[in-house]
């Protein structure tokens, strides 16, 4: 009996690493938190949130800057890097919107996994780092931030996007 319990616990743990640990309630929470911060009506807001995330990432891991040379990372406020920040966080916006539609979500995550696999030098650890950056920036712009729900959903999304990368 005990053996079965252990097996179940292990199976549960393996699942917890996947999309399943981001529950329906978590998804809805995440969408609500995000909607508050992100709307096409407010340009400045989007750029600022996106830049704050990357500023935090570069403070955590200065070497990760090297991954973004193609988009003029050395001039942090340049149009090229601002546009890059917006693309990344816009991609997250797509994903959060798709939390209601798991079939499409899975394919979009696969597409993003391929895009990141094609870029040299990106590792799973970079996704861990940027997850911490989001977890730090979001509560500063979102009122009533639910960190647990956010982290569960963010974690499961990132696990898929980074699935083809090395540690």
């Amino acid at each position: 009996m005990l053996r079965y319990l252990v097996l179940f616990a292990l199976a549960g743990y393996a699942l917890a690493d996947d999309i399943e640990c981001c529950s329906v309630e978590d998804r809805s929470e995440m969408q609500t938190m995000w909607r508050e911060v992100w709307s096409a009506s407010f340009t400045g807001r989007r750029v600022q949130v996106a830049q704050a995330v990357f500023a935090d990432l570069f403070a955590r891991d200065p070497e990760s800057k090297g991954l973004f040379e193609r988009v003029n990372v050395n001039v942090f406020n340049s149009p090229e890097f601002r546009a890059h920040c917006i693309r990344i966080v816009g991609g997250l916006d797509n994903i959060i919107g798709l939390l209601d539609d798991p079939d499409t979500l899975k394919l979009q995550l696969l597409h993003l996994a391929d895009q990141h696999y094609d870029r040299k030098g990106i590792r799973k650890s970079h996704f861990q780092e940027i997850s911490h950056s989001f977890a730090k920036v979001m509560p500063q712009v979102s009122s009533c931030f639910n960190a647990d729900a956010w982290n569960r959903c963010f974690g499961s999304v990132v696990t898929r996007i980074a699935s083809r990368l090395e540690d």
Binding site: W34, T43, R82, D93, L107
Partner: protein, 163 residues
């Protein structure tokens, strides 16, 4: 005399103003887009799917460009994910209408991505027309849809992407 000239100038200016993508038109388009686009994926897909159906209705041959993402079935997850990406890109451009330098950098990037697909220029017009037909049904009252502002501002975006 002077008064008449002023009136004529005033009329000319207002006629011009309705067809340019000026700062005020940009604000309005951003607002109407945000309303139409919404936040939930399922709603966004319904919105985007109507735009695509409109395009394919007017140009059935356009479907062939989307073989890789199942243009033959706009309800498939493959095509849905594709629509979400395209509309995500459009959302990005519209949100940047008031930040010209960043908008131009974003458009240059999209231009690169579209170059290899060699999309005929009139497909952008198809998309523009489809947006006229569909967006009004996704804003609160379709009488509020500002077609002139949308035309002018959509062209700013399309011209930035076309090769």
């Amino acid at each position: 005399m002077m008064y008449a000239v002023l009136i004529v100038l005033g009329l000319a200016a207002s006629a011009l103003a309705t067809h340019e993508c000026g700062p005020l038109q940009r604000l309005k388009v951003k607002h109407q887009w945000a309303e139409a686009y919404g936040t939930h994926g399922v709603h966004r897909e319904e919105f985007a799917r109507e735009v695509w159906h409109n395009i394919f209705e007017h140009a059935p041959a356009a479907k062939d460009m989307f073989d890789r993402v199942r243009g033959d079935n706009t309800y498939s997850p493959e095509f849905s994910a594709h629509m979400v990406r395209v509309f995500g890109g459009l959302d990005m451009c519209i949100s940047l209408l008031n930040d010209e330098a960043t908008l131009n950098a974003a458009l240059a990037h999209l231009k690169d991505q579209h170059k290899e697909r060699s999309i005929p220029a009139d497909y952008f017009t198809l998309m523009e027309n489809a947006i006229h037909d569909v967006v009004p049904h996704f804003v609160v009252h379709n009488t509020h849809f500002d077609k002139d502002a949308w035309d002018a501002c959509f062209e700013v975006v399309a011209n930035g992407i076309k090769s």
